[in-house]
Symmetry: D2
Subunit: 101 residues, 4 copies
């Protein structure tokens, strides 16, 4: 099952500066071949369900390994059976509908 | 890695009544031994990361199998290394802090 | 516009124990007449959009007032124009569809 | 209270193609001066709490006005009292921490 997904990890109990933890996820998602797109409220990826969630587990675990005693992760995941659609396709589709307004 | 988590599945392209699809997830989460707690915006579970996400994949896939061409799932997942905490513990902790106010 | 909604507030930079902060939200949501239902991953409410989000703002602000320098809140909100539906109706609908399986 | 936020709107009961609805939100967020950044799983904005949520209400309502009988919206919102931080600052901070690895 091919999916697009968004992950947002939050370390708790480690102060207000969380970028060091989040920065550790990028290389994991990249190495998994998930075409990660960082934005201000998470990172969007795409790939097979199992590959995506194996990488998400590694991200979540890595935040603990870096010292956070508590980790809170939010995920959005979507799939469709009518046709293939990448994250770039989704953005292009919205932009296209904006243009014709 | 032991986690508590929340799943909320949304079928798209199948009309406004979505309860039939969501109802299919309960037995999956129950069979996986994840102690599912249904609420109005999702279902809370607890267990090992791999067991939780194997069941979440089955829920998401089942919505497609029931006929929805597009499925959108949101997930929250949390873990802590300082101590064990179940979903019931979390609620008891909040209620306890409310009582002493 | 009548809505059902879920709020989950997370204080950052204040240690791993967050229940004291979350406990402060219950009375706010109760006082606003939003019929709050606490669960392990948030609190579900229902009411008019403006009343719901005024209370959510007060919850979020209160976490800061209690000392958290950073607050992260996730919200789900839904509405429908075809018929009225409370949080209790949503749960009953899912349970009803489970029973007939 | 200055916040950064993410909104993701999902129309239900209107088929699988939802881009036409989502496209209607961009001009609303732009007109409100919230510096919207579209990505594949939502749109990030920044501004005062009241301005952000007034625009989010207008987005959600507009999806109904365009014909969707049911709308499901997910929101993330964050604020900090220790210092000002824009969405661009957040991304720069994560990228900076990645570079020094």
């Amino acid at each position: 099952m091919r999916v697009t997904a968004e992950i947002c990890v939050i370390p708790l109990g480690e102060g207000v500066s969380v970028s060091r933890y989040i920065a550790a996820c990028g290389p994991i998602l990249e190495a998994a071949g998930l075409n990660p797109q960082l934005h201000a409220y998470g990172t969007n990826v795409e790939g097979e369900w199992d590959a995506v969630f194996a990488a998400f587990k590694e991200c979540h675990q890595t935040i603990h390994d870096l010292g956070a005693p508590r980790v809170f992760t939010t995920i959005k995941v979507g799939s469709r059976t009518d046709r293939e659609q990448t994250n770039a396709d989704k953005i292009a589709s919205i932009r296209g509908d904006s243009d014709v307004r």
